[in-house]
């Protein structure tokens, strides 16, 4: 299916203050792949993800999602296909109750109430949080907030799921639950994270960026065992591969 392809061609991006956050990025992710994006603080990971659904538009270069070029016109359609889960669940859960939050996407798609209810319930069940639906997000624990944030993106049933640092601040058990949940999703997955163990667990492929440029792209197993490469990029071997 060419549907679920993500293709960046020579994408550059400069923030209005002059920071060159992405420089000439090109890659192609095909259907069903799980890809990790890794790199030092400030390398450009979050900026990259924001380009996948046109939250930011490239300064130059093109982004293709499935058969669509990313333009201001196609942006809305692309947003149905690509769901992004951002780093801080508080920024993502902006509606006053969990239910309304998860319903936000489906309602924007113009679905009717009954269909929306169904979507919301399915999405919340998948992350084991159905019983929270009438709570306001500020009463949820960290782990639950992350789970609901994921549900709120899943409710739109995107073909491609992009996540930014999904496990930060989670306790180890919640992190493990998250990893298991991610493994069960059949979606194309793109995950930016410093948690190399998580990347190793979930992603087959790995893209390393440094100062807005791709410096490596290949199977996770190889990249995450290449100590020299990792160290050049402010990274290190996944902890589970380190022995004292």
């Amino acid at each position: 299916m060419s549907h679920h392809i993500v293709e960046f061609k020579n994408v550059s991006f400069r923030y209005p203050d002059g920071t060159d956050a992405l420089r000439d990025i090109s890659f192609r992710i095909t259907h069903g792949e799980a890809v990790g994006i890794i790199g030092a603080n400030g390398a450009g990971k979050s900026t990259l993800l924001l380009h996948m659904n046109g939250s930011l538009m490239p300064t130059s270069g093109t982004v293709n999602i499935g058969d669509l070029y990313l333009t201001r016109q196609t942006r809305q359609e692309i947003r149905r296909k690509v769901g992004i889960v951002f780093q801080n669940p508080d920024d993502q859960l902006f509606m006053p109750t969990v239910y309304e939050d998860v319903a936000f996407g489906p309602l924007n798609l113009g679905m009717d109430e009954a269909a929306v209810r169904e979507r919301v319930e399915v999405a919340l069940s998948r992350v084991n949080s159905l019983e929270l639906r009438h709570k306001p997000p500020h009463y949820l624990s960290c782990g639950k907030k992350s789970a609901v944030a994921i549900a709120s993106v899943m409710a739109v049933e995107p073909d491609i799921l992009a996540m930014d640092e999904p496990a930060a601040n989670l306790d180890p058990k919640s992190r493990r639950l998250l990893i298991n949940m991610l493994k069960t999703f059949a979606h194309t997955k793109i995950i930016a994270s410093h948690d190399l163990d998580l990347i190793l667990d979930v992603c087959h492929r790995c893209i390393v960026i440094r100062e807005g440029m791709i410096v490596a792209d290949g199977p996770s197993k190889e990249i995450l065992s290449n100590q020299a490469l990792l160290e050049e990029n402010n990274l290190e071997l996944p902890l589970s591969h380190q022995r004292d």
Binding site: L50, N53, G54, S55, Q76, R79, R80, V82, G83, I84, F86, N88, D90, D91, Q92, L93, F94, M95, P96, T97, Y99, E100, A103, F104, G105, L107, N108, L109, E113, V116, H134, K135, P136, P137, H138, Y139, S152, V153, V156
Partner: protein, 268 residues
């Protein structure tokens, strides 16, 4: 520690509003309108009427007991915000010196009566307003506003305001703690530092708004906040409305206290 206290107070208020009692289940629109009518009735009494106001205590008392709201909490809040009303009213006894006969020999200045009336009104209005938010979730109030015709743009940003109060207060509390920790009682709490803190908080807030906007875009936001229809007026709503209207009408126009007093006096 005042910051912490304020913060937790809001938290508690908010938490109370998510209880599940008869009062909490009532339709927010009805509660909102009932509250406004009640307040309007209370302040429509003239400044020399005091005992006529007493029956109106029944409404907050009913909400407190049926809604399982801690009485002490409400009382504390009322006392906390009373200074301005007291400040404005306290001059009455000295400025309004007409004498009032209470009993045969006992007279006081009329100003005391109007001052007391302000205090009673204050207690009634403040506690009822508090009881509205402790028995109705804030999103409920907002949805009621929208259905009552308040512009949806206004309501949407009001909902955002509610959602992020908690997040930003948490954040502010952490910043304030960090400042206090290295101030050593030296009041590193001066105004220049304050400006800095607020400036930083402001920038972070704007950045946060940007992130929220991206999150909204990613879920198909195109400018209109979608809403769910959710309220249906039930029999208990209608019952409550009828009760409130009858209550207000009777106690506004019939001097219950005085008649009762007469009656009792007649008996003895």
């Amino acid at each position: 520690m005042t910051f912490d206290k304020e913060y937790y107070n809001i938290g508690l208020l908010d938490r109370l509003s998510y209880q599940n009692t008869f009062v909490h289940r009532l339709d927010p629109r009805i509660k909102l309108i009932a509250t406004l009518l009640y307040l309007f009735t209370v302040i429509s009494f003239s400044k020399y009427e005091v005992v006529e106001l007493f029956p109106f205590f029944l409404y907050p008392v009913l909400l407190i007991t049926l809604g399982e709201i801690p009485l002490l909490f409400i009382i504390k809040k009322v006392v906390l915000v009373s200074p301005f009303a007291i400040f404005v009213g306290i001059f009455n006894p000295f400025l309004d010196t007409g004498r009032v006969v209470l009993m045969q020999e006992l007279t006081i200045s009329a100003g005391w009566i109007s001052f007391f009336s302000i205090l009673v009104k204050f207690t009634l209005t403040v506690s009822t307003a508090l009881l509205l938010v402790t028995t109705t979730s804030f999103p409920g109030v907002c949805h009621a506003l929208r259905q009552l015709g308040v512009p949806s743009l206004f309501v949407s940003q009001l909902l955002f305001l509610y959602r992020y109060i908690f997040v930003l207060m948490e954040e502010t509390m952490r910043i304030v703690r960090a400042r206090d920790m290295r101030s050593y009682g030296r009041r590193g709490t001066g105004i220049r530092i304050f400006v800095r803190l607020v400036g930083i908080l402001f920038l972070r807030t704007v950045e946060r708004a940007e992130r929220i906007y991206y999150a909204m875009l990613s879920r198909g936001f195109q400018g209109d906040m979608p809403t769910l229809k959710r309220f249906r007026i039930t029999a208990s709503d209608l019952g409550f409305a009828a009760f409130v209207i009858a209550f207000l009408f009777i106690f506004r126009f019939y001097p219950v206290s005085e008649e009762l007093g007469r009656f009792v006096q007649g008996v003895f």
